[in-house]
Subunit: 450 residues, 2 copies
């Protein structure tokens, strides 16, 4: 009888495996095929941050040169998920996406006045015709010049909300903590153009609310604080901070009225008590993950971004709104993780499910086919398509692979283990601190609703 | 009766419009809201290429500085579609995606020997610590160094297929024809690492077949030709060319046996007759859109990308495989388009459907609601989600907007016109050279199957 079951199972396994191969749209993910190969975590961990070393150890990022990082396949999957979420939020807010060149002529920065303000943190270079360019850290000049090139624009063409997601460059002298402070980083930068200050202020409110929603939906605790406009300039500015001891900004907050500001904007007499309600302020360190600027006409006047109405030509009122995508991912991981376990912001784990088949040569090995069977069925659930990785390092015990999956932070871990050889096979599903032992149909039902 | 219908329709319109607004996942696309605003095509067209000027006129690309292009929202939509198609093909072939820094230390290029070979076409710069970097045109050194950093690797870790899609830089002195030859461009670059030459040759065959499929599926006519390995080096190389008079390479082809080569690789005595079968060769110009190299150990030896087996350490055998994404899009448009009409490669048009409601003040205006009704229903069809743009420039006649849509190359144009006021409203659907007059249900049925 048990031999018969085994034959049936082998047949089922083969049939399902070939079925999986035929589903060309789903790439099968196997730990043994992952580049780079999975490694043992290093023992000599630095303790400055909780997550930076584990992100190296777990093949999320890699670095060959100071401040320059490769997003490895695991890391890029997380980043692409974050990009998709941000794209959806931006488009919902009526923003249109474009893609500007990375090289900006310094002639534009001379027009805006930023060329002299920005120091050695900007990478500069000359082309073979000796024209000077910079590797853009932001694109206020480039986008304003672009908008201006479509003159004449009328008031009916406004507002214009345009954004891009691209690599930005900054020659950080103190690049550190992995993606938290790097010299190349992915940024979402939105630029808005309105017909007057009132409209620009309304836009500002709208986008700041979008940011609130975005960070909240990602499950990343953040604080919106008053900030200095700095070299980018403008009328007012807010920063979005993830509070963490590894942050480099000092954030003062009032526990009573909710007032919050970067220490940069407070005068000496306001450093101790809240300027709104007089309560004592508390100080925490913050990692800046987003920044909004009400720019006014700082760029539109020198770069001639105008519109026409019945009264003639007027400069547009601008805003700019950045999110450091790679930094946001890293900051989220840093504040959510524990010393023993990476925890990813909501919906950003590289794979939602890690499936663990039995060890080779173990008593449960005859149940291995259930693993690939489950892989197929879970991929059929819309929200889990392309979200399953099988840890097929069959030389390792299930326990060892479970520990790895836990450390890595896969939100759902499913073990095909001892109970999978039952007449009605049962599977162990782990999510957060819960363990469930479920039949196949219950397991699929659970996933459909989680 | 007609008044009653009209009231019902207005009610239906309002109800559907609010329903559309509630579908937060679908962004509504309106020509009047597009940035940049739609313009009249310029009369003084240059005639060197068929498509470059129309791509500027139709807000697909824009340029502020020589050889540097912005992908405007229409252009970026097409590029993102092409990226998704390439991603799917790469993943189907078992490739893993990562993202390397754009800056590569020139110390790596000195190790590989490419630093001296590559002339002034490489952008170079120094950081504030006077370390020299280049803006990578390709990443052989960077990826080989990355792979090497994960030593020790065993034969069981091979093959490694890793690719990225990112902006590449080349300081072209003769940048021209828009995206066909620009100084920043999007490229897909795949690097493969095998345990020996035989395995590397098998990989080469596999990837070249993937390229064949890709170009074929896009409906872009191409020719695979023998090519020079140039400064990238290696054992053998093929280029993928789109044949066009604006191409800069000379491609010699035999009409009898199918032999095809870039003129660069042929010795003088083989320029006239086929070296395989003796037939006279014909010469055409080609735009290089893809390039494959069997690299051998050119990079793995100097940069120590080794693996270990029972006999000790061995260098890996590499291949590299590029596709110029922005150039492929532009080359496809160039060879498919006519003088009066852009024609996009298959599945790459920025929107599949352009919907045209009646002119404001026209007799048909009372049928306008059907347009937004259709927009909603078409968005419900899986393949058409987010694929509808409404040309709501209601001041313009339907005819004028139809001509615009035709010139732009929307694959499907739907007019809500005279027949939409019938008791059973009928709509005009145009695809390629066919015109159909369809009821709502027939129209939806047609789209579901096309």
């Amino acid at each position: 009888m048990s031999l018969l079951m085994s034959k049936q199972r082998i047949k089922a396994f083969l049939s399902f495996n070939s079925k999986i191969q035929r589903i060309s749209k789903v790439q099968l993910h196997r730990m043994t095929k992952m580049f780079p190969p999975i490694r043992e975590a290093k023992i000599d961990k630095k303790i400055e941050t909780i997550s930076t070393e584990p992100m190296f150890d777990h093949n999320i990022i890699s670095s060959q040169h100071s401040g320059l990082f490769t997003l490895l396949p695991f890391g890029l999957r997380a980043v692409e998920k974050l990009i998709n979420i941000i794209d959806a939020q931006m488009k919902k807010a009526g923003c249109q996406k474009l893609y500007l060149p990375h090289l900006t002529s310094t002639s534009l920065w001379k027009k805006s006045g930023r060329y002299d303000d920005c120091g050695s943190e900007i990478f500069r270079l000359h082309d073979s015709k000796n024209h000077e360019y910079l590797l853009s850290p932001t694109h206020e000049e480039a986008i304003t010049s672009l908008v201006s090139s479509f003159q004449p624009l009328s008031h009916s063409n406004l507002p214009i909300y345009v954004y891009q997601i691209s690599t930005k460059f900054r020659d950080e002298k103190r690049s550190k903590h992995g993606l938290l402070r790097s010299r190349e980083f992915l940024m979402k930068d939105l630029y808005t153009f309105d017909k007057n200050l009132t409209a620009a202020k309304d836009t500002y409110k709208t986008i700041v609310n979008v940011y609130d929603d975005l960070f909240t939906n990602l499950g990343i605790p953040f604080k919106k604080v008053k900030a200095n406009v700095g070299t980018i300039g403008g009328i007012k500015s807010h920063e979005f901070h993830v509070l963490s001891d590894v942050g480099e900004d000092s954030i003062l907050s009032c526990t009573s009225c909710g007032f919050s500001a970067n220490i940069d904007v407070l005068s000496d007499e306001h450093l101790n008590t809240c300027q709104s309600c007089g309560t004592a302020l508390i100080t925490k360190k913050g990692i800046e993950v987003g920044h909004s600027f009400l720019l006014g006409t700082k760029y539109s006047v020198p770069l001639s971004a105008q519109f026409k109405d019945e009264d003639g030509f007027h400069p547009m009122y601008m805003g700019c709104y950045g999110i450091g995508i790679t930094r946001l991912l890293a900051a989220g991981i840093e504040v959510l993780s524990t010393e023993n376990q990476l925890i990813w912001p909501k919906n950003l784990a590289p794979f939602k499910v890690c499936l663990i088949p039995p060890k080779r040569g173990s008593k449960e090995e005859c149940a291995s086919h259930w693993c690939y069977h489950l892989e197929y069925l879970i991929n059929e659930i819309a929200n889990y398509k392309d979200e399953v990785v099988v840890d097929d390092r069959l030389k390792l015990t299930v326990g060892k692979r479970y520990n790895y999956a836990k450390e890595f932070g896969f939100p759902i871990i499913i073990i095909v283990g001892k109970s999978a050889v039952n007449r009605i096979p049962m599977f162990e599903l782990f999510q957060e601190n819960n363990k469930m032992v479920l039949s196949q149909s219950d397991l699929l039902q659970y996933l459909k609703t989680h």
